[in-house]
């Protein structure tokens, strides 16, 4: 069954998407306390408060009624845009809908995907429009980065929240950092550190291995420790039983 048979005639299409979303985990329903804390945060990180969409999570609050309207007003006053509420009893759900906000079931009620990485970012994907829930990947491409060109000695390219893809050479003395995996379509002669926040499922993939250092989730191999037979070939590097395993890319 397709919702949009002829794309030329349809005014829109429904698409499933995984968007990064900040969850505001409320531990208090008191708008004044929220206001005081937000004022402090704004001065610390003003760049964050640029009409940032947030999901208000009220799972930790054990109250049947919440001053949801006032909480939303406080958020908007600090350039946060509440778009939905997560959790809470039925009256909270009703008032969220009344305020034009979406409502998500509490986190526990939803099927957990494959175990997410140890340091979960304060982002949460909103529910899907599609009926089919997408596969949860261990290192989502969201927040990833594609770099085209030669990465030169002394340069540091990082993708703290995702995969780093380099289309070009990574020269000696250059450093690649990624929260997820690192892919190098060219010779890797510098250092590559994947899974810098502890993601043990991250990997390093390259066309031509000459790396000075390889690291996944803090476990590393220096050039000296790398099997010389792997040098110059296309390889993948994975963490297995607390050891870096370098194997040929078939």
């Amino acid at each position: 069954m397709s919702l949009n048979r002829d794309p030329a005639e349809s005014a829109f299409t429904f698409k499933g998407g995984m968007l990064p979303m900040t969850v505001m985990e409320l531990t208090s329903g008191d708008p004044e306390r929220i206001r005081a804390q937000l004022a402090g945060k704004v001065s610390q990180a003003p760049a964050f408060f640029q009409h940032t969409p947030v999901v208000l999570s009220v799972e930790q609050i054990d109250e049947p009624h919440l001053a949801l309207e006032r909480i939303c007003a406080v958020c908007r006053g600090h350039k946060l845009l509440p778009v939905a509420v997560r959790g809470g009893p039925d009256p909270v759900k009703q008032s969220a809908w009344a305020l034009g906000l979406g409502w998500f079931p509490p986190q526990e009620a939803r099927p957990r995907g494959i175990e997410t990485s140890a340091v979960e970012k304060p982002t949460e994907a909103p529910a899907e429009v599609d009926a089919e829930p997408p596969m949860v990947s261990t290192s989502a491409p969201i927040g990833g980065r594609i770099y085209r060109g030669t990465v030169r000695s002394g340069q540091q390219i990082s993708a703290p929240d995702g995969d780093l893809i380099v289309i070009g050479a990574v020269n000696p003395g250059a450093e690649m950092l990624a929260g997820g995996s690192i892919h190098v379509y060219g010779p890797l002669r510098g250092r590559a550190l994947a899974g810098i926040h502890g993601d043990r499922d991250a990997g390093i993939f390259c066309h031509d291995l000459h790396a000075e250092l390889l690291s996944v989730a803090g476990t590393y191999k220096r050039m000296e420790d790398i099997d010389p037979r792997m040098m110059g070939s296309a390889v993948q590097v994975q963490l297995m039983e607390d050891q870096l395993k370098i194997s040929a890319l078939a």
């Binding site: 030669t150 000695s153 003395g173 002669r189």
Partner: protein
């Protein structure tokens, strides 16, 4: 509007000043109004290579600090009337240079000259960064050894991130590779990196290959840029480089060990080493 070309390398002693002097002279000999500026404040050398050390009165720092006019500091070359030298100060250090001061000097030189060659100091600090900041093109001087290649790679990173063109999001600096002190015999013996390896790592356009030559040291000590020595291999190689810089298509020379003739092989002579 002049074209501003920085001659840089990261590593010291690879032949930046020799190359800046030769290329500036070559451009002037082809009829371009050219000025070569020594940015190595505190370690002034360009005046020696250009043979004008006894005519230095004012320098770049004097001009920047308003103690002398630009025309008072510019030294006209003895051999080519198209060529001028702006020497560095020997008594000051790189902190005497300011971004605004350099900009003003380059802007006024730009009105009068076709080419401005900036001879960068070694390193990646303030002096080197100021020398490359306003550049339109860069000649990266590299020796066939790993440390020089790595330092050149570092400088290429700075050229693409710390220059005015990069900061203003304009077209990037046009980067050229100039390999100097190349000795094909030692490359064949495996003592030196070969040209292909250097070009592969640095991944920029090769503008010239200067063979290791006795002529370079000789001309430095005489204060005559080596390009004037058109009998020497290095002089010819710099002339080729200048041709390429001006857009001509010149085949690469001096890359391989010259084939020795029958007599040379029989009597064992003819080596250029």
């Amino acid at each position: 509007m002049a074209k501003i070309i920085v001659v840089t390398s990261g590593k010291g002693g690879v032949g930046k000043t020799t190359s800046a002097a030769a290329i500036a002279t070559g451009l002037a000999l082809r009829g371009n109004k050219t000025v070569v500026i020594d940015f190595d404040v505190g370690l002034r050398n360009l005046d020696l290579i250009m043979g004008c050390e006894r005519r230095v009165v004012y320098d770049l720092v004097n001009v920047i600090q308003g103690e002398a006019g630009l025309n008072q500091a510019l030294i006209r070359d003895k051999r080519s009337e198209n060529l001028h030298i702006l020497p560095a100060s020997q008594t000051r250090d790189k902190d005497a240079l300011t971004l605004e001061g350099v900009e003003t000097v380059l802007a006024s030189l730009s009105e009068e000259f076709d080419y401005i060659i900036c001879d960068s100091p070694a390193g990646i600090e303030r002096g080197a960064q100021l020398a490359l900041y306003f550049a339109d093109e860069a000649i990266v001087v590299t020796n066939p050894e790993v440390s020089s290649v790595r330092d050149s790679d570092r400088i290429l990173g700075l050229l693409s991130s710390k220059s005015r063109r990069a900061e203003q999001n304009r077209d990037p600096i046009k980067e050229h590779l100039l390999v100097t002190r190349y000795n094909p015999n030692r490359v064949d013996d495996g003592d030196m990196l070969n040209l292909e390896d250097i070009c592969e790592i640095l991944a920029i356009n090769l503008i010239g290959l200067i063979p290791e030559s006795e002529a370079v040291l000789r001309s430095s000590n005489q204060g005559v840029p080596v390009i004037h020595d058109d009998k020497s291999d290095a002089g010819q190689a710099y002339a080729d480089t200048v041709s390429r810089l001006m857009g001509e298509d010149v085949p690469l020379r001096f890359q391989h060990v010259p084939k020795r003739g029958l007599l040379a092989r029989m009597f064992g002579g003819g080596s250029r080493r």
